[in-house]
């Protein structure tokens, strides 16, 4: 499936920002099952200082604000061919040892509720079945809802909240999968929803490493594994490691963000 | 050179100069309280006002009281404007700019701090006060001497000098601002003895009694004092002298960097006022107004130097 993406993130500040930086992970890469035909990033109100690959082989750009700027706009446009591989991404490449994906992070630190949830899961079955069962179970316990979405919830907090957005689902899944002995990671990317062109936000899901298959994706919020409608952009141990944009600025200016995102089949 | 280093040198020398000036003011206050006790209270008040510490003193200690004021100005740990605090701040800045200082300058500052820390550890008894004030002036002079003798004449030295003269001019101007009314031409007609006391305080507070005598003989004339402290290019504490030096040092930096900055124009504007005016013109314009303008312009200059040479972000 050929997908075109236009993703605009717009920040406005209520006072000039003397100095600011944004680390952006917004460049999808070609890999088996995903061919990036074309991808452009345009920055207004700032400039790309350096670009590099991080430890997860994500393409990262460091953007600085033009001094005294009050608006920054980051626009990505591109075309990606994706094939449906039933969520299977394949073996771990590069230098990162698999044990790294068993490390818990601040956002994925297992608390009593997640531990209890994992303990209650029935054992047995093939790994992929186990993980699908986990995914279904999470969606049942914490249904998807964008009401009162708080950012930067830990996995444990998301369970307490009783409802979740895709980011929280991914965190709960990652935390639980690691407890079950599977290396797991967070994926940020795009999803073409069938019924619309305008998307509310970019998407997130999880991947777990399964013997023989390698990495397999699980989109808890939608209840299935990623297919040809999913563009994989960045991975990390949690949201913070794969965040599309994370930044830092000097001064007291307040920030407002708006996102517009269109994903279409060409 | 780092912008922070330029700022550190500027402030290190400002703080040293300030501590030295405060010592002079205490000296003047002490003299008055020993010789003319009736005038002491109002003189102490005016000294507190010229140091800008009147408000904080009153809040902490109430009515002016010689011994309390002396301790407050010398060493009160709650007074960031005390001599001890000034020396500490000078040394802290010296540590920040340690790599820009010669070993001699650093050691002079450090020793100044160590000596004062010791002599100001306890309240200073009356009989020791003149000696302690002498130590402050002397230690500060050692630093100046070490800088003069060992620092390379480049931008670092220039920023240090600008800090010294900036603070010194500020100090002279604040004393004048407090006392302008007794220097007005009309005052001469009054000629009461209390005015003489105040003239004497002005000279003592700026440590210029001897210089005045050398240049103008024994007769104290308020008009001459005003001219002496504002326009006399021979007196190293006069506004004209200090601004001449500030202009010169900014000029050296501009030359070294091959670029003139907005602060150069501001400094030149201040200097040109001293060149263009004689005392008559200043009195016609209004002495108080003239000093007020000067304080405002010099504040603006200070801010501009800080921006032009990137003292901070």
């Amino acid at each position: 499936m050929r997908l075109t993406v236009q993703h605009k993130t717009h920040y406005t500040y209520d006072a000039p920002v003397p100095y600011g930086l944004q680390q952006i992970r917004l460049r999808p890469k070609s890999r088996p099952g995903q061919q990036v035909e074309d991808w452009q990033i345009e920055v207004k109100g700032g400039q790309v200082e350096v670009s590099f690959e991080d430890e997860h082989a994500n393409s990262v750009d460091l953007v600085s604000f033009h001094p005294g700027e009050t608006r920054i706009e980051i626009t990505c446009r591109g075309t990606v061919d994706v094939e449906d591989r039933a969520g299977v991404v394949g073996p771990q490449g590069g230098f990162v040892p698999l044990w790294l994906f068993e490390r818990s992070t601040a956002l994925t630190h297992p608390g009593p509720q997640i531990k209890a949830m994992v303990a209650a899961m029935s054992e047995g079955g093939a790994p992929v079945e186990q993980l699908h069962a986990l995914s279904a179970h999470i969606l049942q316990v914490v249904p998807y809802s964008t009401d009162q979405a708080a950012s930067d919830l830990t996995a444990e907090d998301a369970l307490s909240a009783g409802h979740a957005v895709c980011q929280d689902h991914a965190h709960v899944f990652i935390t639980a999968a690691r407890l079950m002995g599977y290396p797991a990671r967070y994926v940020s990317g795009y999803l073409k929803m069938d019924d619309r062109v305008e998307q509310d936000a970019s998407h997130a899901w999880a991947e777990a490493h399964v013997p023989d298959l390698g990495w397999v994706g699980f989109d808890v919020s939608n209840g299935y594994s990623p297919d040809a409608r999913y563009v994989r952009v960045a991975t990390g141990l949690d949201y913070r490691g794969a965040a599309p944009i994370s930044g830092l600025r000097y001064g007291q200016a307040g920030e407002q963000m708006s996102v517009s995102l269109q994903v279409q089949q060409q | 050179m780092l912008g922070k280093t330029a700022g550190g040198l500027f402030w290190m020398f400002r703080y040293l100069e300030r501590a030295e000036n405060t010592a002079r003011m205490i000296d003047a206050g002490l003299r008055i309280s020993l010789t003319r006790s009736s005038a002491a209270e109002s003189e102490w008040t005016s000294i507190l006002q010229s140091t800008g510490l009147h408000g904080s003193y009153t809040a902490m200690h109430g009515a002016p009281d010689g011994p309390k004021i002396i301790d407050f100005l010398l060493r009160d740990p709650n007074n960031p404007g005390s001599i001890m605090a000034g020396i500490e701040a000078a040394r802290e800045n010296a540590r920040v700019v340690r790599t820009a200082l010669t070993r001699e300058v650093w050691e002079a500052v450090n020793e100044c701090y160590m000596v004062l820390k010791r002599v100001l550890a306890e309240p200073v008894a009356d009989r020791d006060l003149p000696r302690v004030l002498q130590v402050v002036r002397q230690r500060s002079a050692f630093v100046r001497g070490a800088s003069h003798g060992t620092m390379v004449r480049n931008d670092m030295y220039n920023f240090a000098r600008i800090g010294t003269f900036f603070e010194r001019a500020d100090n002279t101007a604040r004393i004048l601002d407090q006392k302008y009314y007794i220097l007005l031409p009309s005052v001469r007609l009054v000629g009461s003895p209390s005015d003489n006391v105040q003239w004497e305080t002005i000279l003592r507070a700026t440590s210029t009694t001897r210089a005045y005598q050398t240049l103008h003989g024994g007769d104290i004339d308020p008009r001459v004092i005003a001219h002496f402290l504002i326009l006399d290019g021979r007196l190293p504490r006069s506004l004209a002298f200090c601004y001449g030096k500030i202009g010169e040092n900014l000029g050296y930096i501009a030359k070294e960097y091959g670029a003139s900055k907005p602060c150069d124009a501001l400094a030149e504007a201040i200097c040109s006022k001293f060149r263009a005016h004689d005392m008559n013109a200043i009195f016609d314009y209004g002495l108080h107004e003239f000093i007020g303008d000067f304080l405002r312009d010099s504040t603006a200059l200070g801010r501009q130097i800080e921006i032009d040479y990137r003292f901070s972000e």
Partner: protein, 475 residues
């Protein structure tokens, strides 16, 4: 029968006659008046205070700047003794660098089964952000301090490898300056190898690791957490001696793809940053977001080849005390040779058998926190009270993986000057090593730390230790 001293004394061995390296010194010393030397000692202290060779003590607001006591009896090492030690250090440092490269790339040592993966996996000092990063010149530890102890004529042990930001080199240099100032006549009698070239070697060594983005003569800077840091004096000293700027995080920004410092003339790019700020505080954008000491974005510029950071982030894994216990294997794995310098035998409390042994023998052992430094959080069994041992036992049992234990070594002594003349005190040695792509440069000697209390084995300056000048004699 004469009781043989329990410890090897470097001046007198186990006897009463001066050992060969000390002969000339002792001859001089015997002609000196103790009172005059004690006066000299006070002179030296006043000099240190004036120069400001001080360190700040954490959690002690009244004594924020303290002197490290200086003892004016030098520690003397023969050229022959030093040559062997230096060879051992060089081998070890080479292995450390190879190890660091390996664990941030293919981890061959883990694949080969010579190091358990858990040693890295559970280790906070392992920085995932460094995976796949090859620093300019492939040098990770530009500056290393290898702590050594001696137990006999020919017995040196490595106590720990300081591969993050070893400090103390300024004391080594100031100690020598002070000795030259106070006893010029000694140096004309006894030929001592110079240490004063260190700052110049440091500058050259760092310059040799300039990043790809550098064109022309590399610009160096020293990054300090600021004047309140315990080692600020050293940071200023080294910057001054190298002719480099001493910068703090707020002096730096990312400008045009480089890390640049704010000068009076605008932003100027830095090629090599000798940082004395810990990994976690280095970059709030990548590590601890609350850090005010670091430089946002520096890790990004680093990974893009725009700057060299010395030492590289993530080198702390190599001086971790749990990794230390594997050093003999690490040296052998990467150099193909047996380690020349021995490790102190180390019990890893994470292993049940070792833990049992340690718990059974607490009174005889030194127990250290795996990630601790500066002598904090350790138990010196023979010197501890029953109560202290019991308290430590509880801590150890609660978290055994956090500790290693070593036998109490019979550390050598070197005499210090006291009111009653010479008296032996235990010492250790931190030689300073510079690593660049073309060579490993070891300054002859290093910093001798001395426990000033009779019988004490704790030499850390934060715990009342002092220092001595260290002489390596010319051949």
């Amino acid at each position: 029968m004469v009781n043989k001293p329990l410890y090897f004394d470097e001046m007198f061995g186990h006897g009463t006659d001066a050992r060969l390296p000390y002969e000339a010194y002792c001859k001089w010393f015997n002609g000196e008046d103790n009172a005059r030397l004690l006066e000299k000692s006070e002179e030296a202290e006043a000099l240190f205070r004036l120069i400001g060779v001080t360190f700040n003590v954490y959690g002690d607001p009244d004594a924020t700047e303290r002197l490290i006591p200086f003892d004016l009896v030098p520690r003397i090492i023969a050229a022959r003794e030093w040559a062997k030690v230096a060879k051992g250090i060089e081998q070890r440092v080479r292995a450390l660098n190879a190890f660091l490269h390996d664990i941030y790339h293919r981890q061959e040592i883990v694949r080969a089964g010579r190091l358990p993966a858990e040693m890295l996996a559970r280790n906070e000092a392992f920085l995932p952000q460094m995976i796949g990063v090859t620093p300019p010149g492939d040098i990770y530890t530009h500056i290393v301090g290898t702590d050594l102890v001696r137990t006999g004529d020919d017995a040196f042990f490595v106590l720990e490898d300081n591969a993050r930001t070893p400090s103390g080199v300024s004391y080594m240099l100031e100690n020598r300056e002070t000795m030259l100032h106070m006893f010029p006549e000694l140096f004309s009698k006894i030929k001592v190898q110079s240490v004063s070239q260190y700052p110049n070697s440091l500058r050259k060594s760092l310059s040799a690791c300039a990043p790809p983005a550098c064109d022309g003569k590399p610009t160096l800077a020293v990054l300090t957490p600021g004047i309140h840091n315990s080692a600020y004096y050293e940071h200023a000293f080294l910057a001054d001696q190298m002719g480099a700027e001493l910068v703090e995080g707020h002096d730096l920004r990312v400008v045009d793809g480089r890390v640049a410092m704010r000068t009076t003339r605008g932003y100027k790019p830095i090629d090599v940053l000798y940082r004395r700020v810990d990994d976690d505080y280095l970059d709030p954008l990548t590590f601890n977001p609350d850090s005010m000491l670091g430089v946002p974005g520096i890790m990004d510029v680093y990974r893009a080849g725009g700057i060299t950071i010395a030492n590289a982030p993530g080198t702390g894994i190599a001086d971790d005390k749990a990794i230390y216990s594997y050093m003999p294997d690490i040296v052998e794995f990467y150099t193909g040779e047996k380690a020349i310098l021995q490790n102190v035998p180390t019990h890893r409390c994470s292993e049940p058998d070792a833990l049992k042994y340690v718990l059974d023998n607490l009174a005889e052992l030194v127990v250290k926190e795996v990630h601790g430094s500066g002598g904090y959080g350790m138990l010196v069994g023979p010197a501890a009270s029953k109560k202290e041992i019991a308290a430590f036992r509880a801590k150890l049992e609660a978290n055994p993986g956090n500790y290693i234990a070593q036998p109490t070594l019979a550390l050598s002594t070197v005499p210090i000057l006291t009111d009653a003349g010479l008296a032996p005190r235990h010492v250790d040695l931190r030689p300073f090593v510079l690593v660049s792509p073309d060579k490993i440069d070891i300054t002859p000697g290093g910093l001798t730390r001395v426990a000033l209390t009779a019988g004490s084995l704790v030499v850390n300056s934060s715990q009342g230790g002092g220092t001595k000048d260290t002489w390596v004699l010319e051949e």
